[in-house]
């Protein structure tokens, strides 16, 4: 008889403490000896996680109104420019924005400093209106003085990502870290079999409204992430072999911790934010059990040459090979290094597991599933702009 579990049944088991929860790594090990049917019968939820630098991150902040009030038209937080095209004291600070006088300090650092309880200098300018007469303000804010402080990341948790190498004779600096010349290193950024979107590649359980672990608290998947691409090449198991889908996520920064959200400066590239995300995957049926059973030897990704225009593909490797410390491209063995923290991802997967076990975390059925068959447009240059 086919095993089918509902979200309600699983939540009931979570509440009563009877649910069986494994991390994605644990279930991958279990799958070496257990069939998908056995896994579907025994396991209720599988926790997945990632902790990597995700540039497309940022925070919505409402500063509160001063007296007399100001309609902020140019805003700086510790010198970092914030978006001013919203209502009077609403703003969005992008993780990758940086202070022009100190390019190693950016929006991600402002977010982390606020999380850590530090004071931040807010300076804003305006033309002055009848209802908002003030033209300038300079003051200090912190996590307690602002009203809303909400993480809103338009693109996180990439479903797979490329391996970066450099065939040129010069060292290059990228968002995938420093790439040594002549193929002397290879960097990768996905947590492999623990990675959220690789465990549900068809988005059978992840969609709009999915409750997730985000930065140390509960957040939500709110939309498909930008550059959401479902039609990239896949292997025989249906898992994309390059960067594919993404998610947009939101959560209350006032409940988050810099343990799971950390500012970063990537040399000669710029500022980014390490974001900790954990997603619980309910094992609704045998199909989902099969999906979460996938292991590092079955997940492949593409090796791209970041030193050459167009980033040509040089090969395809598995996460088992990447995590072994060396991959082979042509006749050359290349030393590998991660640029995302598997240790932190494991910590998140275990923390989420513990929250689920305690009944503190309810799994949620998406209110709407993600679109299918999406692809991306490039940016075309019109003739006039090329003059």
């Amino acid at each position: 008889m086919a095993i089918i579990k509902s979200y309600e049944e699983i939540n009931q088991k979570l509440k009563s403490g009877e649910a069986v929860i494994l991390t994605a790594e644990e279930v991958s090990k279990m799958a070496l000896t257990a069939s998908p049917e056995e896994i579907a019968e025994k396991v209720d939820v599988v926790t997945t996680a990632t902790f990597g630098a995700m540039c497309s991150s940022g925070a919505i902040i409402n500063f509160g109104h001063a007296n007399p009030p100001i309609r902020m038209e140019k805003i700086r937080l510790n010198g970092v420019p914030c978006y001013e095209g919203l209502a009077a004291v609403d703003s969005y600070i992008g993780a990758a924005a940086c202070n022009p006088d100190n390019p190693k300090y950016g929006g991600a650092h402002v977010i982390q400093d606020l999380l850590d309880g530090k004071d931040i200098e807010l300076e804003a300018w305006a033309k002055g209106t009848d209802c908002y007469p003030r033209k300038h303000i300079r003051t200090k804010i912190n996590i307690n003085t602002v009203n809303e402080f909400t993480l809103f990341n338009p693109r996180n948790a990439y479903q797979n990502y490329n391996v970066a190498v450099n065939t040129t004779k010069k060292m290059i600096h990228t968002y995938m870290g420093t790439l040594l010349p002549n193929l002397r290193n290879a960097t990768y950024s996905t947590s492999g079999e623990l990675s959220p979107l690789l465990n549900d590649p068809e988005f059978k359980t992840i969609g709009l409204g999915t409750r997730i672990f985000l930065g140390g608290t509960q957040g939500f998947v709110v939309w498909p992430g930008t550059q959401f691409h479902t039609t990239k090449p896949k292997n025989e198991l249906g898992v994309p072999v390059t960067n594919a889908a993404t998610i947009a996520v939101m959560g209350n920064l006032k409940e988050m911790s810099s343990e799971y959200l950390h500012a970063a400066y990537l040399d000669k590239y710029g500022v980014s934010l390490f974001v900790g995300i954990g997603i619980p995957i309910p094992i609704l049926d045998v199909e989902m059990a099969k999906r979460v059973s996938i292991n590092n030897s079955q997940i492949e990704t593409s090796v791209l040459d970041y030193g050459t225009v167009g980033t040509p593909k040089l090969g395809q490797v598995t996460y088992e090979e990447l995590q072994s410390g060396s991959i082979k491209i042509g006749n050359k063995n290349i030393r590998t290094a991660p640029v995302a923290s598997l240790a932190k991802a494991r910590k998140i997967a275990n923390e989420l597991k513990s929250c689920l076990q305690k009944g503190d975390f309810e799994i949620s059925k998406p209110v709407q599933m993600f679109p299918k068959n999406t692809s991306l447009n490039g940016l075309k240059e019109t003739e006039a702009d090329n003059d």
């Binding site: 420093t178 390490f274 991660p338 240790a343 932190k344």
Partner: protein
Amino acid sequence: MIKKKYILNFPPQSGDKAFTYHLVKDYDIRINILKAEVYPGKRGSLLLELHGKKDNIEKGVEYLNNHHISCEPIDKRIHLEEEKCIDCGNCTAVCFAGSLTMNKETWKLEFDKDKCIVCELCIPACPLNLFEIDFR
């Protein structure tokens, strides 16, 4: 016999003297120069691997100190704020000496300072700016 790396700093007046020669001749120490920045009349810095009898190395270090050359084991000059490290692995990507590696079980960063050759690539490669190397 022991093998240990030291960072030597020469004051301006000592930059043109052949101290390494004396280490070899007088103290029977095999030296391997791994990195050198010498500016005659200004200052000099060396990374040396000293290979020899323990007491000979100690005497050699004392000889250098007596001539106003600071000589400290490499691990005293390399600092990583380990408690802030997030184990992302970016530093291991550039560490071709194999000093910084990821533990394949825990995926935590491991730092074997004895393997460091002070290439200093880890300093800018760390996204959290947690390395400090005092070579000069």
